[in-house]
């Protein structure tokens, strides 16, 4: 087993889509010469036929979950009832008035291009007659990390946390390597495959890194996992926002409760300051220029927490693990480690070694959980609050 979790994507995962009929025949070849396409004859009926072919490849079995945005079914290959898939039917009709929602657009857009063992695979897309878009996704029957964290009957140790974190970090690294920000990393978006592999799911809030100086919305990432720069309204940010979320997931895995759980955005930033220290011009140059920065009066300044703080609060991680966590929780996004740096940290090779994915703790009821996870809209804490993140911020996005 490799020591570093930095595993390059397997060529097959990158080069080929598991896809239907004539699509499988397409291969990558000679780079400079235009590809010899095995395109279907350009013809409306044939396009439809191709779509039908894809649709008929799968059988929808039972409904796993339903949300406002999507219905998820358990399905399987017609030719092989034992090979399961999840079919996420996006409710286009409810969204009709505004065309296809940005969530659906983003999800399809990125999952079509990103192939990695730690990112949920999109096998196919087909449209059904009632004008719904159906995403055929990898079947992940073992629920998500949130389920394991919350269930007190599930016992796990630091070696298990290390294995999960390594898989999460690889998935995030791959997104960033491809210039994609996930923007909604949290335990219930980290689904678990039957072999124990953790998969990053829900790309409904994802976007490409913006061109320099172009603004992005700060209304992303579920509150407890949202970094201070977004809470301060930063409109230009980087992969560091996802790393903060990864750090929060790490802390939560160790503590088995969310580490900083604010009940409003203001409460969230207050709790972050109390926990990690108050952002100041000294520890975070030009923080006071961020649009929603709130100065703290001198009497309430919490000094920036050091290594001993992390060791004290996260003793199970050990000194090396605490150091990694600290590097992910730097207030100043420029000082936060990148996904690549995180993957090169010595914690991964420090004893205990990460548990083999097949031996990780498991829990039943995962299929239902997958249904719930895939129908929920991003940015939402289950049933706790309706996040405004999903509303398109038209004025903000123009640029």
């Amino acid at each position: 087993m490799t020591v570093s979790p930095l595993v390059p994507p397997s060529p097959s995962a990158v080069a080929h889509r598991k896809s239907a009929g004539s699509e499988t025949a397409r291969t990558t070849q000679g780079n400079e010469s235009p590809l010899q396409q095995v395109q279907p004859v350009a013809d409306r009926e044939i396009t439809e036929q191709l779509n039908d072919e894809v649709r008929h490849k799968y059988i929808k079995a039972k409904k796993l979950g339903e949300g406002t945005y999507a219905v998820v079914y358990l399905g399987h290959l017609r030719t092989d009832p034992s090979s399961f898939v999840a079919i996420k039917k996006i409710k286009v009709n409810t969204e009709y008035k505004d065309g296809l929602s940005m969530d659906a657009i983003r999800e399809v857009k990125y999952l079509q291009e990103l192939r990695h063992p730690n990112i949920i695979a999109l096998h196919d897309v087909f449209s059904s007659k009632d004008q719904n878009l159906n995403l055929v996704l990898e079947y992940l029957p073992r629920g998500d990390l949130e389920m394991l964290i919350k269930d007190s009957n599930v016992h796990y140790g630091v070696a298990d946390v290390k294995a999960w974190m390594a898989m999460l970090a690889r998935g995030v690294w791959f997104c960033h390597e491809n210039f994609v920000l996930h923007r909604d990393i949290k335990p219930n978006n980290l689904l678990i495959a039957s072999d124990g592999e953790v998969k990053l799911a829900d790309f409904g809030l994802a976007r490409s890194f913006a061109d320099p100086y172009l603004n992005m919305t700060h209304q992303v990432i579920t509150r407890w996992y949202r970094p201070p720069e977004l809470l301060y309204g930063a409109r230009q940010y980087s992969g560091a926002v996802d790393i903060w979320s990864v750090g929060m997931v790490f802390a939560e895995l160790l503590l088995r409760v969310p580490f900083v759980a604010g009940n409003s955005d203001l409460d969230q930033i207050t709790k972050i300051c109390e926990a990690f220290g108050t952002p100041t011009e000294e520890n975070w140059p030009s923080v006071s220029k961020l649009p929603n920065y709130i100065p703290t009066d001198g009497n309430h300044l919490v000094p920036l927490q050091g290594r001993d703080f992390f060791l004290r609060h996260f003793p199970t991680a050990g000194p090396v693990g605490a150091d990694l966590l600290m590097s992910m929780c730097a207030l100043d996004p420029r000082k936060r480690s990148t996904a690549y740096q995180a993957l090169q940290h010595s914690w991964w090779s420090t004893e205990p070694r990460p548990t083999n994915k097949e031996d990780l703790p498991r829990k039943s009821g995962g299929t239902k959980k997958m249904g719930d996870d895939l129908t929920r809209r991003g940015g939402e804490l289950d049933d706790q609050f309706k996040n405004a993140a999903r509303q398109l911020d038209f004025a903000a996005m123009k640029g």
Binding site: V14, A15, R17, E23, R26, T28, N31, E32, S33, P34, L35, Q36, Q37, Q39, V41, A42, D43, R44, T47, N51, V92, Y96, K97, D98, G99, L100, M102, I105, V108, K109, Y110, Q112, E113, L114, R115, V125, S127, Q131, L133, E177, N178, F179, V180, R207, S208, F209, A210, D211, P212, M216, L392, F394, M397, K398, G399
Partner: protein, 347 residues
């Protein structure tokens, strides 16, 4: 910074160089080499010609009844219309470029004479804006498109008698039309929506080739122009970017406005100049061109870029500028209007 290798034998280090060109320092959404664009949306010229021929074969009557201008002239018209729409809503250039590629992809699956091109244009624009993270409200898009392309005027000029009792418009007020068309657009493109553009490669190469801001601006406008041709369906974005840089550095037209108001002289200059620069590539020992151009030639020769592809792109652009002389907005508009009315495609 690059590992230089012999362009003739260097297959082993090709990929390395390409990653250099395409991934650069700044972001490119996902990676071109593994992209759906490269795997599913690059055609050969022959393939593209065969597709179009099959459309003609299928409906010869419509083709003779409703003649349309040369594809490139039609593209010029589409692009100008999209630009007008984009200007009204202050959209990013990148979204307009994506919309143009969507339209091209769509028309490799559908014969234009079976569609309402104004609806396709509007929908491609609407979807591209969402894709490029500068979304516009569907109602706003429909309102703007309706006022830009009212549809009625054409009818009154071509058939004054029908006009009185056949109210007609290119874009219906009902926004669900756009919703339906969006769905069809996404389905036809197999939900493969990310488009890699040459603009990124251009900014990545700017430093390495020490391009002046004038050269970058000119190369940028050449890239804009390449969307008027089939090139986006034929070549990878970095090849297009390099072609644009060559055109900008070698031909340096005095100003961009002159470039567009009268493309013909440029076409001539490019054809002659093009022969020279590519001849120089094969003959590095000669007296050769000025140092600025020599530098570019050396870089090209040492890179792994497919020179033949770059030449073909240049030729395509030359012929675009030549055919541009025949462009008449009025003519395109009338022919399209007649087709839409004649086939009731606006219904």
């Amino acid at each position: 910074m690059l590992i230089r290798c012999n362009p003739l034998t260097a297959s082993s280090c090709q990929d390395e160089h390409r990653f250099d060109l395409n991934l650069g320092k700044s972001g490119m959404a996902a990676n071109y080499w593994a992209s759906t664009q490269r795997r599913h949306w690059l055609f050969t010229r022959e393939r593209l010609a065969a597709i179009r021929e099959s459309f003609r074969e299928k409906d010869k009557v419509a083709h003779s009844q409703f003649p349309l201008p040369d594809q490139r002239l039609l593209n010029i018209y589409f692009s100008q219309q999209l630009n007008k729409l984009g200007k009204r809503m202050s959209t990013r250039q990148q979204a307009l470029a994506t919309a143009q590629v969507y339209i091209k992809r769509y028309y490799t699956k559908n014969e234009i004479r079976s569609t309402n091109p104004y609806l396709v244009l509007t929908t491609a624009f609407y979807l591209a804006c969402k894709m490029e993270e500068c979304p516009q409200h569907i109602r706003f898009v429909v309102t703007e498109a309706r006022s830009l392309w009212p549809g009625r005027q054409i009818l009154t000029t071509t058939n004054p008698f029908a006009a009185a009792h056949v109210p007609s418009e290119f874009i219906a007020p009902d926004i669900s039309k756009i919703g339906e068309c969006e769905f069809s657009l996404i389905s036809e493109m197999h939900s493969q929506l990310i488009v890699h553009h040459p603009y990124r490669s251009l900014s990545d190469l700017q430093a390495e080739l020490t391009l002046t801001s004038d050269e970058v601006a000119l190369a940028w406008s050449v890239i804009n122009d390449h969307y008027l041709t089939d090139l986006p369906l034929l070549y990878p974005p970095h090849v297009i970017a390099i072609m644009a840089i060559i055109v900008a550095v070698v031909f340096k037209p005095s100003s961009q406005t002159a470039f567009h108001s009268s493309p013909a002289p440029i076409a001539g200059a490019m054809r002659e100049g093009g022969i020279n620069i590519f001849a120089a590539l094969g003959d590095k020992g000669g007296a050769g061109p000025p140092p600025r151009i020599q530098k570019l030639i050396t870089w090209l020769a040492e890179s792994e870029v497919d020179i033949k592809a770059v030449i073909e792109c240049t030729q395509e652009l030359v012929s675009l500028y030549e055919v541009w002389e025949q462009y008449s907005e009025k003519n395109s508009k009338e022919l399209l209007g007649r087709m839409i009315k004649g086939k009731s495609l606006d219904k």
